[in-house]
């Protein structure tokens, strides 16, 4: 008997504040969580872009005492978490605000897990044995340069991968003053990563009505806003839409698991110094063509998200995936025209053909489909190797 399409478990524990003056509501939200001495974590780069001043102004008349740590590096380690553990305790903080993306959230989650017990608990969280311990209130204020994990239960710290369901930020704030314009390539790479998470959520065998709803929102926002956000970086609402898309896609991802293209993209990015999102973007059309042959593939639902209701209503039965692939290729071509050094093939990212064998092995047993044949992964990589968009 096939499982009921109506049976599922879903959780999105975060409250989101999105749009103009969202930051101004932060003090009230923190007070509501019984937090009055937050420690704000960010990077030197973001601090130099005026973020520290913006945040200080937000809390100026709030009666809350905020502390700053502006030294989160690109590759944080456990030593830093230990140091912050001491700093947090010494200064009497009671909550965390992660201002930034990727490593800032990694450190904030790891620190939060450590604070609920001792720094040694990180090993327990890495082993997945950490109980559902209640953590301190964590607010995420992400930007457009997302890693795909900020608003999920996952964090990584050098060689340590942490998983704790209670580590998902309780509050997410998306404000035009913190969702700043980024370099075009950075914005595009992150949006393609978001798109991949959303598309693979539709294809995941554990998909449900809520992951579909979130994946739909994420896909629509990326398809409608990515080119505008690149052409008009000062356009607030496109940037906020992309930031929302990342939140939605990560929420779907957090309730399912990574798909094949996501996992392959991550594995390939570890081998060469290229953003995983760019690689995922190049793999996505091939991954979908592979899906086209599967009977159970929800091609039409996918195209509803990719193309919107008007276009969806007029496509022929069975053409959903094909049409979605067309749209993705069009998007890649548009990105190439907007970004001079945008890669056109996985041959452009510094991989050797001989790497593909090992990569297909690494990605063969991950992803929602579970029993994905090694040969299929290899086929996909070969196709991607041959193709120049």
């Amino acid at each position: 008997m096939s499982p009921s399409p109506n049976s599922f478990v879903f959780c999105s524990p975060a409250k989101v504040l999105s749009g103009n003056k969202a930051l101004e509501n932060l003090p009230v939200e923190l007070a509501g969580m019984d937090a009055c001495r937050p420690l704000i974590l960010t990077t030197a780069g973001l601090a130099s872009r005026g973020m520290e001043r913006t945040m200080a102004a937000v809390f100026a008349d709030s009666g809350l005492t905020v502390g700053f740590f502006t030294g989160i590096p690109a590759f944080p380690d456990r030593k830093l978490v230990r140091a912050l553990y001491g700093l947090y305790r010494d200064r009497g903080h009671d909550s965390l605000i992660a201002l930034g993306a990727g490593p800032v959230l990694d450190v904030a989650k790891a620190l939060n897990i450590a604070l609920s017990g001792a720094p040694e608990d990180l090993e327990a969280a890495a082993a997945g044995t950490l109980a559902n311990r209640k953590l301190r209130p964590l607010t995420a204020i992400p930007n457009l340069d997302v890693s795909g994990y900020e608003m999920t239960r996952y964090a990584s710290l050098s060689s340590l991968s942490l998983t704790a369901p209670t580590a998902v930020p309780e509050l997410i704030v998306l404000d035009p003053r913190t969702v700043l314009p980024e370099a075009r390539k950075t914005t595009a790479a992150a949006a393609l990563l978001t798109l991949t998470q959303a598309v693979e959520a539709f294809l995941h065998p554990g998909r449900n009505q809520l992951t579909d709803a979130y994946a739909y929102g994420a896909t629509r926002y990326v398809m409608e806003n990515l080119p505008t956000a690149l052409k008009h970086p000062s356009h607030h609402s496109s940037r906020i839409a992309l930031a929302n898309a990342a939140f939605f896609a990560q929420t779907a991802f957090d309730n399912l698991s990574g798909g094949m293209i996501f996992c392959l993209g991550m594995a390939m990015a570890r081998r060469c110094a290229v953003s995983p999102g760019l690689i995922m973007g190049l793999l996505l059309p091939h991954g979908l063509l592979l899906e086209m042959d599967r009977e159970e593939t929800p091609g039409r639902d996918l195209f509803l998200a990719v193309g919107g209701a008007e276009d969806y209503a007029v496509i022929e039965e069975g053409m959903g995936i094909r049409k979605a692939v067309d749209r993705f290729v069009e998007l890649l071509l548009e990105l190439q025209s907007l970004i001079p050094d945008f890669p056109r093939s996985i041959r452009d990212i510094g991989l050797a053909k001989s790497d593909l064998e090992e990569l297909s092995g690494a990605a063969g047993n991950v992803g929602g489909r579970g029993s994905l044949a090694l040969s299929e992964v290899r086929y996909l990589l070969d196709k991607a190797w041959e193709t120049r968009f």
Partner: protein, 415 residues
Amino acid sequence: MYLPGYYEYSCRVKIVAGHDALERIPDLLSDIGARRPMVVTDKGVAGAGLADIVLGAISDHLEVGVVADDVPPDSDLRVVNRLAALYRERGCDSLLAVGGGSVMDTAKGINIIVSEGADDLMKFSGAGALKRPLKPLIAIPTTAGTGSEVTLVAVVKDHERHLKMAFVSFFLLPDAAVLDSRMTMSLPAPITAATGMDALTHAVEAYYCLSKNPLSDVTALAAIRLISGNLLQVTRNPGDREGRLAMANAATLAGMAFSNSMVGMVHTLGHATGSVCGVPHGVCMAILLPYGLEYNRHKREAVMGELLFPIGGPGIYGQTPREERTPRVISYIRQLNEDLHTATGGRHARFFAEVMDREGRPAVPRERLPDIARAALGDGSIFYNPEDLDYDDLLMVLEAAWEGLPLDPGRIRKG
């Protein structure tokens, strides 16, 4: 897709849906550190054997502190106080609310008292009075309609002082909502129909009213799609497990949507009709929903037209020219009421003149319509309606809904 200049959304309730979802309760409780729940329910739910199903699913794995099955149909401060004392006496550490709106409200009220160590619930009324998490609470709805398993409000009545206390806080959200098809299998057809239309109204109003946002939109669309595909079938075939579960999911999705976006005039008039004439909420929603669409159409034509997609399906949506989509949505909803009327052997009312009370007398006498219109003017939901409404407008809508006639386009205010 629409993106407002600013929005907030939160639904931190864990949703567990399935034909055997109840069996997961022990794990859900132990995940949040609880092992001795108090079961809160009412006589109707217990009499239908639903409390026993819940107990049967969990009692091998945990010890139930006490089962309180005497929650009245209207939440009551005295009952809340008495059950809070019972909770403490029996050493409970969490709450399972099995029932509809009043059971949820009562369980939330008990939770405030036992978590805050309070003796006076009044101190915590209004918004923002609660500052920290309460005891674990799991909601197990027994109708597919209200969505109160995912709302952050509780209403408790003080019958002695004639006060209605409202509590609003994110801490009132249940930790989990458990949606199990066994809980709604025995719902009679007219209640299935009315509660399903309640859920549809939540989703439709959330989608076209003024405080919509992307997450209320996607949850509303998913709810409408499920209701369009399942409500009539389940009303006709009460034993359809898959359809029952789909409707339970739809009601929760619609609850997520409207509790994060607000509702409009259908609720304004529905609340008023309920309080003046005692008509069940879902019955009012079913009758009034087409009028909310008609009255606001000139302000929200494009947004309403989008609803034809989940209601009619992609084929019909694609074939229907834009300007005909909203009328088509309205006629679909009217037709759904007609079909539910037939499927329930005439017990699903299509207009107010058809609504009967328990003794079989007309529940909404025509001469009470002015009282309803006056009561509606004081309802907060009136502010979220796209078009303004004064007393005359409200009465005009009520008159039409009493007879079951469409609104006269010439008389609709266009502000």
